[in-house]
């Protein structure tokens, strides 16, 4: 799973959000490192929706502009959970090996 996809799903795990909300949330989650733009974001949302990982929550009109809110589907939550587990297992391994090598070298 690409990082952008992971971050989008993570943003939606906190509740339904619209496009610009996701961009702002992803920026916060990634500590200002990842700033998604409309082209990339909607290409990802379209794909995630086709894959059944997210779905439309509701639509609102704000300042005569459409805002479509997306939410995670149960399948999307499960996929994100698996990916998070996988990543955290990798992180644990990396940290423990670093500690080991640090222990050997000192």
């Amino acid at each position: 799973m690409q990082e952008a996809t992971f971050l989008i799903l993570t943003a939606l795990a906190g509740g339904a959000q619209h496009g610009y909300g996701i961009i702002a949330d992803v920026e916060e989650i990634s500590e200002r490192r990842v700033r998604l733009q409309a082209g990339t974001l909607y290409a990802a949302l379209d794909r995630l929706r086709d894959d059944g990982l997210i779905e439309v929550d509701r639509e609102e009109i704000v300042d005569s502009r459409l805002r479509r809110y997306y939410r995670l589907t149960p399948g999307g939550g499960a996929t994100l959970g698996q990916e998070a587990q996988r990543l955290s297992a990798h992180v644990r391994t990396a940290l423990s090996r670093l500690q080991l090598s640090a222990g050997v070298s000192t």
Binding site: Y20, I23, Q37, A38, G39, Y42, A43, R67
Partner: protein
């Protein structure tokens, strides 16, 4: 909305035409909202990168749609491979060939009757598709 904003929106709208129509209908207005919200606090450079990102997105989407159409075609689910569509095309071709034959014969070119062979082939294939479609 200021003049420059209206101009910018027109430019983004033009750029959205790079996307497949179904995608544009699904996401166009929503994307414009995001683009214009981003433009409110954006500098010229970020507008440029937003435009580049739109192109990149269009490329991604076209590639994915094309790929999915291909795999769908493999399973015979592509819209243009839809049985009803196939039958309609075959009937249209058969009809068109009949017209050509009639015109040729009207001019005394009786070899045109050979075209009727193709008409028969198209009708048979259309019939087979119809039988298979009804059997599903």
């Amino acid at each position: 909305m200021t003049d420059s904003n209206a101009r910018l929106e027109r430019r983004y709208r033009r750029m959205l035409r790079f996307y497949p129509r179904s995608y544009r209908e699904r996401h166009g207005e929503d994307m414009l909202g995001v683009l214009m919200t981003g433009a409110d606090d954006g500098k010229k450079r970020s507008r440029f990168s937003a435009a580049l990102d739109l192109l990149r997105g269009a490329l991604l989407v076209h590639t994915r749609y094309w790929w999915e159409m291909r795999t769908a075609a493999d399973r015979g689910r592509l819209a243009v491979r839809h049985p009803l569509f196939v039958i309609r095309v075959r009937l249209a071709v058969a009809l068109w060939l009949c017209v050509v034959t009639a015109l040729l014969c009207a001019h005394g070119d009786w070899w045109g009757l050979a075209i009727l062979l193709f008409v028969v082939v198209h009708l048979i294939l259309a019939g087979r598709t119809a039988v298979r479609y009804r059997a599903r």
